[in-house]
Amino acid sequence: MIELRNLSKSFMTSKGSVDALRQINLTIRDGDIYGIIGMSGAGKSTLVRCINMLEKPSEGSVIMDGRDLSTLDEKELRSMRRQVTMIFQGFNLLMQKTCLDNVMLPLRLSHVPREEARARAMEMLQMVELPDKAKSYPAQLSGGQQQRVAIARALSTNPSVLLCDEATSALDPRTTHQILELIRDIHTRMGITVIVITHQMSVVQEICNRVAILEHGTVMEEGEVSEVFSNPRSDATRALVYPEIASAIFNEEDDGQRVRLIFNGAPAARMPLIASMAIDCGILASIQSASTRSVGGMTYGYMTLEIPGGPDDLARAVNYLRKTPQISVQADVHYSMKEGQA
């Protein structure tokens, strides 16, 4: 079990002290796949580096299985780091060494005899399904393969915790999926605790059971993934759950009147909203753009409808949509007509 207690970290810069983390309190249980999600600059990387003491916390403590890591000396820290290993966004393999040598490295660093290390490394490469790449150099491998080798390397010392620092952020969606699958598989097989740092909600959705939302160095929300995502309480969470809203911009060049619907956890999936509006009001709205996703049976996202006719029709449509039962719709009315606003 890993407990972060009142963890704070500040950096001294030329402009003074900057708080990267403020009073973080988290508990990560053994066997969790724990997601820490946030936008860039939220402090995720600093947080994960405090867990293996690559960054020394300014205040507070990291307690692993009852031991306060800040009390460890250099030697104890090094042996702790063989138990808490890490994979990275950039894979960080030694480019001048073969894959086998890369996987052997952590073992050789802890003075495991060469032959024994080689056997263990081959076993690890088999687990990540790349035994035939043992003699290849990282440059000859794809990104996904390099990350597999990095995973084999991280697991060679048989750790109890695996830290993933944006481990899939440099990969395409398909490869991301495969790597996450591998991590989940390893988690099941080795019973390892996994901490996943990411800015992608899809990653958390796919493999995590618990999640913490980090913003400006503070934990905004924390809990079971389904719970946090189905009922986002903070703006930071909402921005992560449906990032499209922030970026959805009306094209001002186009004529026409539009209504923007924002689904903020509405059970709208089974509502024939546009069809019923056509029947009830005779307004034949067309969808201009939409991006919604379903989390725990609730719909999040936005939809932009073009409403034909004049300002009257627009007003009727807005009224109708606002009256729609069982749906929390924030109707945003935008005009971009040259005649001016109604």
Binding site: N52, R78, L94, Q96, L105
Partner: protein
Amino acid sequence: MNQFQRAFTSESLAEAWEIFLQDFPLALWDTVYVTVLSTFFAIVIGLPLGMFLVAGDEKGIRPMPRLLMRILNMVINFLRSVPFLILIVMVIPLTRLIVGTSVGTTASIVPLVIAAFPFVARLVETSLREVNPNIIETAQSMGATPIQILLRVMLPESVPSLVSNFTLAITTILGYTAMSGAIGGGGIGKIAIMVGYNRYKYAVLYLAVIVLVILVQIFQNTGSWLSRKLDKRLKH
């Protein structure tokens, strides 16, 4: 007819050719011997020193007292800024102490090493600083000691860069050997100055230059080829 025109009459060319056949084989051997040995010793001293400069830096993997690093940097900068000809004279007592004499081919190795090792240390420093800091962090995350990071991560990762920098060092040292020829060191440089310049046999001077150019080409091409060959980042 001026001196330069006189240098290329058929007689003087024939004479130069004779000198070339007679003296150059030994001079070439002297030059290569001095260059290779000096480079070797310069690396023996410069490589650990360069590693120390990187590791002991304020933001290095094993920061050392700032005063120590500052003194070390000052000494290196001092040695780098002394003109080589003056350095040769300055280190004569040391040369006598090590070699027993301050003149001759072997004796010229001492000032060459002293001039070259700070240069090599700086080259090693640049090579090691090129190593991706993320890889160093990764090694730290594996529980590597500073010595292990240096020897098992930074050094292997910078091999291609080190090889091309050592190539630069050996060609520079080759240039220095020509200067040491001026004050008693043997080699091609000595013939160029003693015979070619002092005795106005300019054809010999040009022949010597051609031989030096060919030597530099050989060292440079071999070094570049080796560096490319060793670099596993290139797909081949």
